[in-house]
């Protein structure tokens, strides 16, 4: 089958690899019909996440049809022929954490749990195509994928809804939604959201769905800010203003946003001397993460407010404004998305016409174009917000 492999920093390649097989009784094999490149894949592309290995298949946002199930899969929950969206977090459904609905903290799904423990104390769940530290599972930017604990994660999708409307239930829609939910929104709240990529855009819409009165979106690309504006947000292009924090104060009567959401993560861009320092440290491998957005979110947040962090961080940060965090009585909420909590209710929102997630798509291309799309997405060229790959199409781009 064709699969998108990481062959080194900024080196992606579509390789012919053997088809996946059932390895454990509760596995299933899915024939993939749509798969996407996620913003968090760009951290892998840039070589910033430890324990990635040449030849690893990436991709964790995919859906398709079940073509094979292992002997241990509960046939009432999943059978051959089912059309499913596969969540990016892998969860067993049996451990303490799964039973607490903390699906992305599953205690059993990461065979390399001890690698993550060295860095984080405890290991989160395994993820598809996202480093060996997080399981080393082959990802879904391919024609087929092996899905462990297949009777727990995959969500059945009725026929009649196009892939494009539901494929984002695999990650970014629930991730944006949980980010907004973590903002602890009360009616009338003002939410500031850093990053107008796909997660940020879903977070904006989710914040409104959850009762926010104002959403202020921050980015530096006008085409992305335009999409935020379309979603109902007020916008700030941080490259065009002197001081984002001061502007947020001015916009809120010096109170500050009730919640600040970091939908950017470890590869944030910002301005000033701190940017130069953080970038240098990252290049020298002294600090894996560039925490400019997180710092700004903490400083900007109103007293007693909430900072929500769906953006991915991998390791350690310097100059954490702990004083502001402590003295202002801020709550911070974080985590990989607890997918199985959100997929079904969000599918119902889609079915009920409350939201059409396909608004986020900017590129639909055959899988062979994946390597160049990584670069275009990373460099924010061609007004790229979201790339959907067709694993079975051949030749040039079908539509742009």
């Amino acid at each position: 089958m064709k699969a998108v492999c990481w062959m080194g920093t900024e080196k992606m390649s579509v390789e012919n690899v053997p088809d996946p097989t059932i390895l454990n009784p509760r596995d299933a094999i899915v024939r993939i019909t749509s798969t996407c490149i996620c913003g968090s894949d760009l951290h892998l592309y840039d070589g910033l996440m430890p324990t990635l290995e040449q030849g690893d298949i990436l991709g964790h946002e995919f859906m398709g049809e079940v073509v094979e199930v292992g002997a241990g899969v509960n046939r009432e929950k999943l059978k051959v022929g089912d059309r499913v969206v596969v969540p990016f977090t892998i969860a067993c459904g049996n451990c303490f954490f799964c039973q607490q609905q903390l699906w992305s903290c599953c205690d059993n799904s990461n065979p390399n749990y001890w690698m993550a423990e060295k860095l984080m104390g405890y290991s989160p769940s395994g993820l598809f195509g996202y480093t060996h530290m997080l399981g080393g599972y082959a990802g879904g930017q391919a024609q087929y994928a092996r899905v462990p604990y297949a009777d727990v994660g995959p969500l059945k999708i009725p026929d009649g809804i196009p892939d494009e409307q539901v494929v984002f239930l695999s990650d970014i829609f629930p991730t944006g939604y949980m980010g907004a939910e973590n903002c602890n929104i009360k009616p009338g709240d003002t939410i500031a959201i850093w990053g107008c990529g796909p997660v940020g855009l879903f977070a904006i819409r989710s914040a409104f769905l959850l009762g926010a009165e104002r959403v202020i979106a921050i980015d530096r690309f006008d085409y992305r800010l335009k999409r935020a504006e379309d979603a109902g947000a007020e916008i700030i292009n941080y490259e065009e203003v002197d001081d984002v924090v001061q502007l947020l104060k001015d916009m809120t009567g010096n109170i500050g946003p009730d919640a600040c959401l970091d939908a950017v993560g470890m590869e944030a861009h910002y301005t000033g001397p701190m940017w130069a320092l953080d970038r240098t440290k990252q290049v020298l491998r002294m600090q894996p993460d560039r925490p400019g957005v997180l710092r700004e979110a903490i400083i900007a947040c109103r007293k007693g407010g909430t900072v929500s962090v769906p953006g991915v961080y991998g390791g350690f940060i310097d100059k954490m404004p702990m004083g502001a965090y402590m003295n202002k009585g801020i709550t911070m909420k974080t985590g990989q998305t607890h997918m199985m909590r959100y997929m079904k209710p969000l599918l119902e929102l889609i079915q009920g016409g409350k939201i059409d997630p396909s608004f986020v798509v900017s590129h639909r291309v055959p899988i062979d174009k994946a390597p160049e799309m990584y670069k275009i997405f990373r460099d924010k060229q061609d007004h790229c917000t979201k790339v959907v790959l067709d694993p079975w199409a051949n030749g040039a781009s079908i539509a742009a």
Binding site: P18, N24, F96
Partner: protein, 258 residues
């Protein structure tokens, strides 16, 4: 003192044990070097130096003759009742399903069982063990009988966890590897980090009891690997830092499970 605190204390003691090993080797090497330097000087002070060096290496060698003993211990929370965990463990034929170094365990009598472990390079080690103490749903202790190729004594306890969260299983095992090359190799394999090895075993037990399978990526499809990765794997197949060890180890567990 809580179980965890006791384990930490005992781990500190075993670190001291490793320190004494370090002393032994540094004494042997430094002593040897001093003796050689002293002899090569062909003078009275040189002779004194050589004598001092000889004494030091003798001390080092003496420190090395004490009985080798390796201790592995760990504990883990299982999402099941103490009775279920006890039940699974007391079927000792189950142990090789999750214990990496075990090839098989066979019941050979009321109280006795025959154990086969795989040492380095696939060498087998055999021993016979008897149950020393057994309290239903609570604790099992076993000890190896005389004339075993390796002495392995251990105890496993099952305690109900607070907050109705299941069972904390804690294991304590003492290994006395035999003299000779196989014993040395086995000791080396265990000695890298016996606690880590036990923890890996318990993690597999947890997955097996809770989900019915042991998570794995061994044998899955991937793109072309680099030569450097292949070489690193061959050079050090069970380095717990690089993350390659688990692959062979899961393969072993899977082979036994199938």
């Amino acid at each position: 003192m809580s179980e965890a605190a006791r384990i930490h204390l005992e781990n500190a003691e075993s670190r001291q044990h490793r320190l004494s090993t370090a002393f032994r080797w540094s004494a042997l090497i430094t002593g040897g070097a001093l003796a050689l330097t002293g002899l090569s000087r062909r003078s009275k002070s040189g002779l004194a130096l050589a004598a001092g060096g000889g004494l030091l290496s003798w001390l080092g060698a003496q420190a090395g003759t004490q009985q080798r003993e390796l201790i592995a211990r760990s504990s883990i929370l299982l999402n099941c009742s103490p009775e279920q965990a006890y039940e699974f463990w007391s079927q000792i034929e189950n142990l090789p399903l999750f214990m990496r170094h075990l090839e098989s365990v066979t019941q050979i009598g009321e109280n006795q069982s025959h154990w086969v472990a795989i040492g380095p390079l696939g060498k087998q080690l055999h021993w016979t063990a008897e149950i020393a103490f057994d309290r239903q749903g609570d604790v099992i202790a076993w000890r190896s009988l005389p004339d075993s190729e390796i002495y392995v004594d251990g105890v496993v306890k099952f305690r109900k966890a607070v907050g109705d969260r299941g069972t904390v299983v804690s294991v304590f095992v003492v290994y006395q590897p035999p003299a000779g090359s196989i014993g040395n190799a086995f000791a080396k394999m265990l000695g890298k980090d016996p606690n880590f090895m036990m923890r890996q075993d318990l993690h597999r037990l947890k997955a097996l009891i809770e989900t019915g399978e042991i998570p794995t990526v061994e044998g899955q499809t991937h793109g072309p690997r680099s030569g450097a990765t292949a070489v690193a794997r061959v050079l050090n197949p069970d380095d717990p830092i690089k993350g390659q060890g688990k692959i062979t180890e899961i393969a072993d567990a899977r082979r036994r499970a199938s």
